[in-house]
């Protein structure tokens, strides 16, 4: 005790020990954990190249998914005696191309949002780390690519099935409403009017998920 008016009661040995241990734990955290935390803080901040890389994966996934669908469609056209230069053949190939374009554009936009969401989730984790809260583990970039690839495969298959359905129904379904209006044209009405199996871009549920 020193000086007048100092009424502090001496802390117990236990309290003093706890204070010392707390300091040691802090120093240990600073030396062992902070470098790792700093790496994490840098890693979650996505750069241009992260977005470009993810877009590249999506592009090749869509192309790879649609290539066999295109091949199968042209082979089936031949098998059914529909030549590529006929109105039906041209329309079917163009319709598949439209599905591919839609799938590509949708996939790329979804990829941008997915990578950006990862960035924001990462930054939020850092904020929580700053408050001593546990950080959620990130899904990782691989998950984004896997999702885009699977989506492309599904869409390519769906597109092929729609085109096939259209060929079988050619000239037999009159159709009505928006679907017919969107598809109408001298040589397209029979092919694209597909009853319940609508092409992707006229499928309400699909467009809603774009």
């Amino acid at each position: 005790m020193s000086g007048g008016g100092d009424n502090d009661i001496e802390q117990t040995p236990e309290e003093k020990a706890l204070g010392e241990i707390a300091v040691n734990r802090w120093n240990d955290y600073q030396q062992r954990f902070v470098p790792v935390e700093n790496e994490y803080i840098e890693a979650v901040q996505k750069t241009d190249s992260d977005f470009s890389e993810a877009r590249g994966r999506t592009t090749s996934a869509v192309q790879q998914a649609f290539a066999p669908a295109e091949q199968d469609l042209s082979e089936n056209l031949f098998a059914q005696g529909i030549t590529p230069d006929s109105g039906k053949g041209v329309t079917a190939m163009n319709a598949l191309g439209q599905d591919r374009g839609l799938s590509m554009g949708t996939g790329l936009n979804e990829t941008d949002v997915a990578v950006d969401n990862q960035r924001l989730r990462g930054l939020q984790n850092v904020v929580q780390m700053g408050q001593g809260q546990a950080a959620e583990s990130l899904g990782g970039m691989g998950r984004v690519a896997a999702d885009a690839t699977q989506d492309s495969i599904n869409r390519a298959n769906q597109s092929y099935q729609n085109r096939q359905a259209g060929l079988h129904l050619a000239g037999t379904v009159a159709g009505a409403g928006t679907q017919a209006y969107m598809s109408r044209g001298p040589a397209t009405q029979g092919l694209n009017t597909q009853g319940q199996q609508k092409p992707l871009y006229d499928n309400t549920a699909y467009v809603k998920n774009l």
């Binding site: 005790m1 300091v23 949002v113 990578v115 694209n192």
Partner: protein, 170 residues
């Protein structure tokens, strides 16, 4: 009549840059703030704890507050959403245009160059599908960014608000 790739001329000029990525990044420098332990004195326990509180605050300001600022900047960036919507439109338009070209190349491999009514009808459907796809992509991106904004307020930034409240309560 042959096909013409005139689905959209809006993006024929300079392509706009992606609003995603490319922002400011923050690199925390490793500067461990170790503390000298007070080993003597009646109040050494409290003094050591007080040192830790000060060091924690300094550490928070140096390494975590800049990251919070990044989230606030995104939330307050009124131009980001429109930029993302425009970029989604550009992406979709480009994808449809490229697929159109790719399809015509595929047909030409069979020696097919559609003319007349067939060419006209296909040009029309490409135009309609592209218009529908562009509108859909813009709506979807607008929704996605609005979801992000809501997520920021109910996610990371909400814990910042909680932290402030806790600090006031002591």
């Amino acid at each position: 009549m042959s096909y013409t790739a005139n689905l959209n001329t809006q993006t024929q000029g300079l392509a706009m840059a992606s609003p995603f990525g490319g922002g400011n990044t923050f690199s925390p420098s490793y500067n461990p703030t170790t503390i000298e332990t007070t080993e003597t004195g009646d109040q050494s326990g409290s003094e050591n704890i007080a040192k830790i509180h000060r060091a924690q605050w300094d550490d928070y300001i140096a390494r975590f507050a800049p990251v919070e600022d990044m989230l606030f900047d995104r939330f307050n960036d009124s131009e980001f959403k429109q930029g993302a919507v425009d970029f989604a439109d550009q992406t979709m338009t480009g994808a449809m245009n490229r697929s159109f070209d790719q399809t015509q190349r595929g047909l030409s491999r069979y020696g097919v160059t559609p003319t007349g009514d067939v060419a006209e009808a296909n040009n029309r459907t490409w135009g309609l599908k592209t218009a529908a796809a562009r509108a859909g992509s813009k709506n979807a991106m607008r929704t996605a960014i609005e979801d992000q904004e809501m997520g920021l307020m109910t996610g990371g930034l909400s814990t910042v608000a909680q932290q402030r409240e806790d600090a006031w309560r002591g």
